[in-house]
Amino acid sequence: METYPLEVERLTVAYQKKPVLRSVSFGIPSGKLIGVLGPNGAGKSTLLKAVLGLIPKVEGNVSIYGRPYQEQRKIVGYVPQRESVDWDFPTNALDVVMMGRYGHLGWFRRPGSKEREIAMECLTKVGMADYAGRQISQLSGGQQQRVFLARALAQNAQLYFMDEPFAGVDATTEKAIISLLHDLKEQGKTVLVVHHDLSTVKEYFDHVLLLNGELVAAGPTEDTFTSDNLQKTYGGRIAMLQDFGAATVGTV
């Protein structure tokens, strides 16, 4: 049996009062773009954070290419939500991207010209080379998101986790992210994306993971992204869902 880029077994995470994720188990295939979907409070970001060891888990196992996360840090890249940091921090775009190299530098080495080069390349890939020296608070929301993506690229990982990279970005950035995702896929990398906009799911992702506190369904988009499963995930909350579901059923 091949080892999955990410395998999660019976993962349970609880905040103080109530469990947010209950016994979630899945494995994701290599070299695919995977969308993580679910209503607010379904535990999407929590899943990412628990996998990355940022919050404690009550129960369960996470392995990355068959080994615990702690041993595999260098091949995992992470793009947190844009609001999670203070953009007034005194630093520029290039510097933020260089932070992606810190994991490879070890304890005492300082980033040097090689890191600068890599960071510059990554900025170029997301179309932000001209903004390298710009203070980060002077960038637009979309540009900030692209800087974060460039930083993840600089991590040069095999497996990427992205927490709502499409949230509140402009059309240019959205296109840039999509083409970046496809580049990554072509290089055989695996990307897990927390996503909100159901109308673009079929266009963007090969696989989906439907989450609602528990795992509702997981698998290739065309089999899994069905009105039936969406109903189970979102309940009767969104009438519009019918459209996506119906369309899916129609094409299968």
Partner: protein, 305 residues
């Protein structure tokens, strides 16, 4: 002694009540900043008048407190400096300036100044009768105003936007609440000192929050806790030598807080701990079933193709 006891009781009551609102408005440390900021106001009042009069000091403190709040507001509004640093800047700079003035007064050899340094650590026992009366009356007024404007204060603490929508004079009420906080701080400084007066506002209110989810009960409990701390502090420091009132009062409040944190129903540590054990056991039980259920469903379909 009886009068001083009565004074501390009313002071604790008043600060506890006001503190409940400042705590809910997430402005707990504002009291600390206001206490420090009061110093230059008090010194200027003394320099101008040349007499030690609590009434005049209060006016000075209110003016410099208002300036300090304005400063904090301006810094967070017009620069990228955040609330915490703005508080720290105003607190230390005002206090620094106050210390400069105080030493200036002391060095100028004015005989009346002896009372000023008492403001640092507070000593209820050294208060004169008129101070005690003033402290008690002012505290009482604070409590009465809070009782009269209870529903207004409640709404602007919870949802100022909605209050404005209802046509309430939110800005005016906020100013009033701020003014009352300054007054509470200034009368408190006498009894417990500049550094510790913040505790009179914060600690009883937080302790009360652990026991109840109703604002009315919380405010009453905070007042009772405050009064209890004030009386305990005054009694103990009055009977044991070399024991300043302020720290004892604060520690009494802290003790009440610790009891609340541990034993309060629902929110207390003990209750939480029991609940956590329970949910963990429940989760375990459920989990076994879920896993069996899911493995038959073939969760890893994605990888198999």
């Amino acid at each position: 002694m009886q009068w001083i006891l009565m004074g501390s009781l009313l002071l604790g009551l008043g600060s506890g009540v006001i503190g409940s609102f400042t705590f809910l408005r997430k402005q707990s440390l504002l009291g600390d900043a206001l206490a420090h900021a009061a110093l230059p106001g008090i010194c200027i009042a003394f320099m101008l008048s040349g007499v030690k009069s609590v009434g005049l000091f209060m006016i000075g403190a209110i003016i410099s407190g208002a300036l300090a709040t304005f400063g904090i507001h301006a810094i967070t509004r017009y620069s990228r400096i955040k609330q915490d640093a703005a508080l720290g800047i105003v607190l230390s700079v005002f206090f620094g300036a106050g210390v400069v003035m105080m030493t200036k007064i002391q060095h100028s050899g004015n005989g009346n100044q002896s009372g000023l340094d008492k403001y640092m650590f507070g000593q209820a026992a050294s208060m004169v009768m008129t101070d005690v009366y003033l402290m008690g009356i002012v505290s009482l007024i604070l409590v009465i105003v809070c009782a009269l404007l209870f529903k207004e204060f409640k709404l602007i603490s919870f949802d100022p936007g909605f209050a404005r929508g209802m046509g309430m004079k939110v800005a005016l009420l906020e100013q009033l609440m701020l003014l009352m906080t300054v007054v509470a701080v200034v009368v408190g400084i006498q009894a417990v000192g500049v550094v510790l007066v913040a505790a009179l506002l914060i600690t009883p209110a937080v302790a009360a929050r652990y026991w109840t989810d109703s604002l009315g009960i919380m405010v009453i409990m905070a007042g009772v806790f405050g009064a209890l701390s004030g009386v305990t502090g005054t009694l103990i420091s009055g009977t044991v030598s070399n024991l300043p009132t302020g720290p004892v009062t604060v520690l009494a409040a802290t003790l009440l807080f610790l009891v609340s944190v541990t034993f309060a129903p629902n929110r207390g540590l003990l209750a939480k701990w029991i609940r956590r054990l329970r949910t963990r056991n429940e989760l375990r039980g459920k989990m076994e079933m879920v896993v069996i259920h899911q493995s038959t469903q073939g969760v890893e379909r994605g990888a198999e193709q």
